[in-house]
């Protein structure tokens, strides 16, 4: 994760330094010219080093896709997909009926379910993680349960959700809740358990109350772990929502994919894949930003 953010960071600083140099070029005087020229050259080299490789990677992917599409009867090529995407995104928020709404609504619905399930999992999982990390008796009692349930595919819980809630929407939220709670519990508990003994010795010498220990030592030390858990959970939740919506139906990006499969609209499926990927990327970047904001090592 840190390597990735580093690269993003250097790209950002490169482009920031490049912009004023380019803007100043026509108006600046003669004396500044050589320096300016070298700066522009440098920023071009920087651009080439940092921004060009991703373009090459994308070009290779699109080239392969176009190649495969020419041999396939059903798979549309990049050009056909692009045309379909332009049409699709020209009206992303239309509503033509309860089950026929624009792609924007579908994505928002899915995000809503993920937010709900993820939020509930955080509300339950983070305090549970603190308790498990702080009291070894609790972790001894519940670790076997967690170990047993964690490897289960979240979709296996869908029938239980449907049986309990008797509706598709809460069942999907329940599945998101289940899949995102494990990383929250485990990472939080790990953060508490990894608390250096030195800090606890400080707390003991100062005879801090349990509340002070929590607010002044346990919480700040564990926040980075909690946020790592939340980042993992959100990633998994976004993976799982697509699959669970395929099964539950209604409005949502997962069901939309399934619907377009039934319509044999392959270009829409490819567009959905790109949209799902972009949203997932944005969610992860947002969480990384949040983690950086609350991590005492970056302040």
């Amino acid at each position: 994760m840190s390597a990735a953010t580093q690269i993003v960071h250097t790209v950002e600083t490169r482009s920031v330094t490049a912009a004023p140099a380019a803007a100043n070029a026509p108006v600046s005087g003669m004396a500044a010219k050589p320096k300016l020229a070298s700066r522009i050259a440098e920023s071009f080299i920087g651009f080439g080093k940092n921004a060009l490789p991703p373009f090459i990677g994308m070009a290779v992917l699109i080239g392969l896709w176009a190649l495969v599409a020419t041999f396939s009867d059903y798979l549309p090529g990049p050009r056909a997909t692009f045309t379909a995407a332009v049409e699709l995104f020209s009206d992303p928020f239309y509503i033509k009926g309860p089950n026929d709404v624009g792609i924007g609504w579908n994505v928002l619905q899915s995000l809503g379910r993920v937010g709900m399930g993820f939020g509930l999992a955080a509300l339950v999982g983070i305090p549970l993680g603190f308790l498990l990390g702080r009291f070894s008796l609790l972790s001894k009692a519940f670790n076997p349960v967690i170990s047993l349930l964690r490897p289960v595919s979240p979709l296996a819980w869908l029938p239980i959700g449907l049986a309990v809630f008797k509706a598709a929407d809460p069942a999907a939220i329940f599945v998101i809740f289940i899949c995102s709670i494990w990383p929250m519990i485990l990472n939080t508990a790990m953060g508490v358990a990894a608390l250096p003994q030195d800090y606890m010795n400080v707390a003991r010498v100062l005879q801090l109350s349990e509340w002070k220990i929590f607010t002044k030592i346990l919480l700040p030390a564990t926040v980075p772990y909690v946020l790592t858990g939340a980042k993992l959970a959100l990633g998994i939740a976004w993976l799982v929502i697509v699959a669970s919506e395929m099964l539950t139906g209604g409005v949502g990006i997962g069901f939309w994919v399934w619907d377009e499969w039934n319509n044999m609209n392959m270009s829409h499926i490819i567009i959905a894949i790109i949209v799902i990927g972009s949203v997932g990327l944005a969610l992860e970047a947002g969480m990384a930003k949040l983690a950086q904001r609350f991590d005492y090592r970056h302040q």
Binding site: Y199, N201, V205, L206, Q207, K212, K216, R297
Partner: protein
């Protein structure tokens, strides 16, 4: 006269997977009020265990620790510890770290204004007023250790316990901090117990040096009185014969007496203690 701090015929055993490990055996010494006592010995001889015993972080198996007429039953702020690796909380500033301790000790009885004054006075004492709002990762090793000392002193402890406080520092920083510590101790008249493995440091700072035999079953080998007048100056001491005699006595112990347990020297320790 009753001693201020007494470690009374104390043994410490740890339960390990391979059976009981006896770290300390019959450790017995006394410290007067305002005295500076060093514990010296080879690594792993249990000198830190003695310190943790006084701090209350380790419980004695037999015997006990008495401070000012009361038996030590657990950790407490009247026995402040300067930890080997400073142990500052990385999410708090220098001010925040000290204030946490000040608030705990004096928060119930004093105004917030007074607590702020105390915290700032402690920063001033170690010469770190300008680093007030810096977090530990922005401070050098020596500055972090200074904050650790300031935090301990701000609690106005009955005993200041220091666990190899300068062990991780370079020689120049160490000398600098030793001088500050001497000066602060003269001013505050603190009672100090310090663990060290540095012979020069022990002689320079201490009124008495407690020498420990090698573990397991570590105990006190000898106790040396350092009869050097204060204030001490490290440059003048370099030419002082008493200083060199003290250093030589400790070195001799560490190279010979510390390796095997001499019963004669143990008796001497009891007599002195």
């Amino acid at each position: 006269m009753n001693p201020y701090l007494q470690v009374d015929h104390t043994s410490v055993e740890f339960r390990t997977p391979r059976g009981v490990f006896r770290a300390l055996d019959n450790v017995n010494f006394k410290v007067s009020q305002g005295e500076f006592v060093s514990l010296i010995g080879h690594s792993g001889c249990g000198k830190s265990t003695v310190l943790n015993l006084i701090a209350g972080l380790v419980a004695p198996t037999t015997g006990g620790v008495v401070l000012n007429g009361r038996e030590v039953a657990g950790p407490g702020p009247e026995r402040a510890v300067v930890f080997q690796n400073h142990s500052l909380l990385p999410w708090l500033t220098a001010y925040g770290n000290i204030h946490l301790a000040v608030e705990k000790v004096f928060g119930a009885s004093e105004s917030t204004e007074r607590l702020r004054e105390r915290t700032e006075a402690a920063l001033e004492l170690v010469g770190l007023s300008t680093a007030r709002d810096k977090r530990p990762h922005e401070l050098s090793g020596g500055m972090k250790q200074r904050v650790g000392i300031a935090r301990a002193l701000a609690m106005e402890p009955k005993v200041l316990l220091m666990d190899e406080p300068f062990g991780a520092l370079d020689a120049l920083t160490r000398a600098n901090l030793q001088d500050s510590l001497m000066e602060i101790q003269t001013r505050t008249q603190s009672t100090v117990v310090m663990v060290t493995h540095d012979v020069d440091e022990a002689v320079l700072l201490s009124d008495r040096v407690v020498m420990m035999t090698n573990g397991p079953d570590a105990t006190i080998g000898e106790i040396l009185d350092v009869r050097l007048p204060r204030p001490r100056n490290r440059l003048k001491l370099a030419e002082d014969s008493e200083y060199h005699k003290c250093c030589a006595a400790i070195l001799r112990f560490l190279h010979q007496g510390g390796a095997e347990r001499g019963h004669g020297s143990a008796k001497l320790a009891l007599a002195v203690g």
